[in-house]
Assembly symmetry: C2
Homo-oligomer: 144 residues x 2
């Protein structure tokens, strides 16, 4: 899937900022921070434009924000827009994924979970959804 297709599909205007962000994200197989995206982007955009673009993409369920801690926020494409990457090649239809944060190389990846039981909470709590953040060492860092 290409940036333009995604924007058309969601009835968003195809502006160069949005296209650029999506292009960078489609080429990456991990979640990226605002700065990581900006570095790989061709054009130069105002911070405001950048934030507004993310907001729009988020509201239209194209990307989602992953907050690891106060100083580490990353963005990832929604699963349906991912095309490549070894982790997603099996085309499973998992509704649930974890956010894996490698404490060594500081990368964040969405990891599809095969069987993830809904946590059991005490009586009276109504669960809308849950988020799972896993911290540790990624495959690449484990090899070294």
């Amino acid at each position: 899937m290409k940036p333009i297709d995604i924007l058309n599909e969601t009835h968003l205007k195809r502006t160069s900022c949005r296209e650029g962000i999506l292009k960078v994200m489609l080429e990456s197989n991990e979640a990226l921070s605002e700065n990581e995206i900006r570095e790989r982007l061709e054009g130069n955009y105002d911070r405001t434009t950048f934030y507004r673009s993310f907001k729009t993409l988020e509201e239209n369920h194209i990307v989602h924000k992953i907050i690891i801690d106060a100083s580490l926020t990353k963005y990832a494409l929604e699963e349906q827009y991912l095309e490549i990457g070894p982790l997603h090649s099996e085309k499973e239809t998992t509704s649930m994924h974890a956010h894996f944060h490698c404490q060594q190389c500081n990368t964040v990846k969405c990891i599809p979970l095969k069987d993830c039981p809904t946590p059991v909470l005490p009586e009276g709590y109504l669960i809308d959804h849950f988020e799972l953040i896993v911290k540790g060492t990624c495959q690449l860092c484990n090899l070294n």
Copy 2:
């Protein structure tokens, strides 16, 4: 357990700011934001002092920070220092707890989890620990 006891036990100086923060947190059965704590606090402290106090309490494993999203950070006492609250009365020795965020009243609570399986990740990932954030409606809001 009293604020002073906690500070003595961890060999921290008993300053009025630390004592105040711990007093407020011991009296609450939910996680509190910086502002919520400041409002309930008697003295008036500089923001810097406040942040440094939290940092010290965190480093000494007395409280932990819970980041729900970019504009909602709360602090909770470590389980061992909690004394009251219906949710903790059973004195289970759970190593794992979820952070429940009520989307209606915006409160955050630590919920002990009875059986929480470690998520299964693809080959090569080494898990240090994981965090579970559950969003939904709390007991109190469900009654209304």
